[in-house]
């Protein structure tokens, strides 16, 4: 059973604000899913190589030749906050008070 403390820790890592009700429900739901998943931990997998990519292919490399970038206006058009040609954000370390 996932504790509320663990749920809060994971939510903090994932930068998700959860309401109390959401966090409580999450603890129950995740616990039930993990209980199902836990069956694989009982399998004998000694010596089995992990699969990160289904194919054993080699990454193709790209020639070091510039291609045009996107127009700045097109990128900034989607931005919630624009300042001085950049994407505006609250300063890291600055507090809201």
């Amino acid at each position: 059973m996932l504790s509320r403390h663990e749920v809060d820790h994971v939510a903090a890592l994932a930068r998700l604000a959860l309401t109390d009700a959401e966090a409580e429900r999450m603890a129950v739901e995740l616990s039930s899913i993990l209980e199902h998943i836990d069956r694989i931990r009982a399998l004998d997998l000694d010596g089995v190589a992990p699969t990160a990519h289904v194919s054993d292919a080699t990454a193709p490399l790209r020639p070091d030749v510039p291609v045009p970038s996107l127009p700045r206006e097109a990128l900034l058009a989607a931005a919630p906050e624009v300042a001085d040609g950049g994407f505006g954000v609250p300063s890291p370390g600055a507090s809201a008070q």
Binding site: L13, V65, S69, L70, R72, G85, G86, S91, G93
Partner: protein
């Protein structure tokens, strides 16, 4: 009070001088307006994917080989997950358990690993002026730098003093500069260095608790920052306090070390294999080709210059670490007919003093042959050292041949045999009898005014040692 041994490991980030970014075709740039070198990939737009830059991999292999590392035939990229406004995908594509290069050595420091990754964007703090993060309420993000190829080099903790840290980083910089794969300019951020520092009482078997120092953006600041941190740690231990493992920011203005501890939970980067990039394979042929194309590296060059030309180790080191100067030196030696290479090397500081240490001497009017000829004229006492410096001034400003300059300006040395110098020396003694008496009485310092008189009268054409000999002779010493 026990003595303490500092132990220092360095983590260096080198920006590669490729034409394009690590995982997309946007051009690298410096000093352009914000966000003009961005595409879906380096901006982390939904749906965009990375494709690895072949040149960056080749440069990384070259660095790995120059650092004596083994190159991994198969390596892999991982995602390093953390949220920060300069990290567009909220994960950095880096290498984790299998770096492209590992287990090397440069000079007296072992290399733990060298891996390839992408640089973050630039956060510009709108608080303006101060540049101190904590003052500003708003920042803006410029993604031009995001995705610039980096090689991160991690050393073993083999450094034991601030001076050694600085010297070794200089060796590293010159080694990478010789490869031509990076600008390695600390002031521009293309070379960045963090240091892990701990101290332990002499004889202790375990290392002390380490701290990580960031933001030392020059060689001098690295040395100063590490020195300050060693002193801080020793003072704490002496006071019976303990060292906290933390990240410290070295304030170059005040010399203070400030903790960067954040209120957020400890980092948990949740590394996992980057599913968008299949395995990175490097063939033995490719490694061999890169190895064959490696230039002579500074450490090897210093040994060769010392052995071949009989240079003192310090001078050989100096020439090996300044690629253009070393090249100029060898060209001058080759052009000279029987001029002592040591003398040529000894004259180089005078050249640097005149053209500036950042200038490639080959780009000045002074040709290696003219420089060697000048050194030869001084060596044969055809001209005096002072006259040699005058000739060098002319060479630097106008070029030309030293012999012609000597002839045109009448700078030829006054030969001891022709009597001219005897007369000038006699005049000098006559002009300053006090000084002459003091010299005669054994006060060698009083020689100065007499020699100065002769030099003024001969416009520096006299050989200083010969003048001293004549003064002593005329005074019966």
């Amino acid at each position: 009070m026990p003595d303490y041994v500092p132990t220092i490991g360095l983590e260096i980030h080198v920006q590669l001088a490729t034409a394009t970014k690590m995982f997309c075709g946007c051009a690298l740039s410096f000093g352009d307006p914000a966000n003009v070198h961005c595409c879906p990939t380096c901006l982390g737009l939904p749906g965009a994917l990375p494709v690895t830059n072949a040149q960056a991999i080749e440069y990384a292999i070259a660095i790995g080989l120059a650092l004596g590392c083994e190159i991994a035939p198969v390596s892999q990229f991982h995602r390093k997950n953390y949220f920060y406004p300069d990290n567009p995908k909220a994960y950095q594509i880096s290498q984790y358990d299998v770096p492209i290069a590992a287990h090397g050595r440069l000079g007296d420091v072992r290399i733990h690993r060298a891996h390839v990754e992408e640089d973050a964007a630039k956060l510009i703090h709108a608080g303006a002026g101060s540049g101190r993060i904590h003052d500003a309420r708003r920042s803006i993000v410029d993604f031009n730098r995001a995705g610039t190829p980096l090689v991160e080099i991690v050393t073993e903790p083999d450094v034991h003093s601030p001076e050694q840290a600085r010297e070794w980083l200089t060796l590293l910089r010159e080694t990478i500069r010789a490869l031509g794969v990076s600008d390695v300019d600390m002031s521009q951020g293309s070379l960045r260095c963090d240091a892990n520092v701990s101290v332990a009482p002499t004889g202790a078997t375990a290392l002390g608790t380490k701290t990580e120092l960031k933001n030392m953006n020059s060689f001098a600041f690295l040395e100063r920052g590490v020195r300050a941190e060693i002193a801080r740690q020793i003072a704490r231990l002496e006071a019976g306090e303990t060292i906290t493992q933390e990240t410290l920011h070295y304030d170059v203005a005040t010399g203070e070390l400030r903790s960067l501890r954040s209120k957020e939970e400890a980092h948990d980067y949740r590394y996992f294999p980057e599913p968008d990039l299949p395995l990175l394979r490097v063939s033995a042929d490719q490694v061999a080709a890169v190895r064959a194309a490696l230039p002579e590296l500074p450490a090897d060059k210093a040994l060769r210059l010392s052995a071949t030309y009989g240079l003192a180790p310090e001078r050989a080191h100096e020439l090996a670490f300044n690629g253009p100067l070393g090249t100029f030196f060898e060209a001058a030696v080759a052009a000279a007919d029987g001029v002592d290479p040591v003398a040529i090397a000894n004259w180089l500081p005078a050249l640097i003093e005149r053209v500036g240490s950042d200038i490639d001497p080959a780009a000045t009017p002074v040709t290696p042959a003219a420089f060697a000829a000048l050194v030869g004229l001084v060596g044969t006492k055809t001209i005096s050292r002072d006259a040699g410096r005058t000739v060098l001034d002319r060479l630097v400003s106008d070029g030309g041949e030293p012999a012609a300059i000597v002839a045109a300006e009448g700078l030829g040395a006054i030969a001891a045999a022709d009597g001219e110098l005897d007369a000038v020396v006699a005049a000098a003694i006559a002009a300053d009898p006090d000084a002459a008496a003091k010299v005669a009485a054994g006060n060698a310092k009083a020689m100065g005014p007499l020699v100065g008189y002769v030099m003024r009268e001969t416009r520096g054409r006299a050989d200083g040692a010969e003048v001293g000999r004549l003064i002593r002779a005329q005074l019966g010493l």
